[in-house]
Amino acid sequence: MHIPDGLVSAPINIATAVVAMGVGAAAVARARRTLGEKKVPILGVSAAFVFAAQMLNFPVAAGTSGHFLGALLVALLLGPLNGFLVMAVVLVIQSLLFADGGLTALGTNIFNMGIVGGLGGYGLFRLLTLTLPRRRGVFVAATAVSAWFSVVLAASVCAVELALSGTSPLALALPAMAGVHVLIGIGEGIISAVVVSLMLGVRPDLVLAWKPQEVKA
């Protein structure tokens, strides 16, 4: 879903870049206050995983592929704002070094995938787990659903931006973008659930969003 140059209008690219910088500033300010020193390497590994896994395009329909996004996963591992920083680092490098995502659309891509996907998916995750028992199975299931949702939501916002830019009418862009990402999101849900499941198995302390039910020591 990395938008190249030329598809989204300048006002939208500028507006999204401003929002992205605002969230970036908030994330930096918060990390300065609360980021634990031991979390720093996890920031690096999360970025490495997102980058590597985003290269693994899987077929979703005839002649169409999709790839992992990772915004919801890193939000669960590190918190939504630290997760945003990880996504931003990956998206900047993809654009500058790998020509994946246009430079003028960088703000829009960070907005769509880092903010809409990451914070939107995380919001749904918190809603889903608000009242449910804090069990591993519930956590993993909520991860899968929120990860799927994060991709569909980001793709839908991308369609709105294309429509506002006069690139494709909303009545065409929205169903097409949402439709194909409903399928790609299934991959997102599976990968996110598998990774979270593995992490809860070996290092549950590295999953920030995981707060197990109190047990007697």
Binding site: L43, A47, F49, M55, F58, V89, F98, V202, R203
Partner: protein, 119 residues
């Protein structure tokens, strides 16, 4: 929190394996957005409009390497290490220069060191 150091090489190793051995096998079909752009005829709007033309590794293929599988693997390994280093460096920068014992994270670290939390 337990020590993260033993976890690090394993996790980074997995990422490098994904980038080097799986990435060359990935589907080369257009992704969701490219598919829609093609179907709805606005893909050409992007063609020739690329603003930043000096990306050293365009399309995740290391230039000057014969065999696209190897070029993809090298691009994957390079990118994985670069984002790892950058995110790590950013984290270090954010943590550094903070008064010890003043942040919530440091208090948490002190608590963990005392072993009072068994997560």
């Amino acid at each position: 929190m337990k020590n993260v150091l033993p976890f690090l090489p394993v996790a980074l190793g997995v990422c490098l394996l994904l980038a080097s051995f799986l990435a060359p096998l990935a589907s080369s079909s257009p992704d969701g957005l490219e598919r829609v752009a093609e179907d709805q005829g606005f893909l050409e709007q992007a063609e020739g409009n690329q603003v930043w033309k000096s990306a050293p590794v365009p399309d995740y293929e290391m230039p000057g390497v014969g065999g696209s599988g190897i070029a993809t693997a090298l691009a994957g390994v390079a990118g994985t290490l670069i984002v790892f280093g950058l995110a790590l460096g950013l984290g270090r920068l954010l943590v550094r220069g903070r008064g010890a014992g003043k942040s919530r994270a440091d208090r948490q670290a002190a608590e963990d060191a005392g072993g009072s939390i068994s997560r």
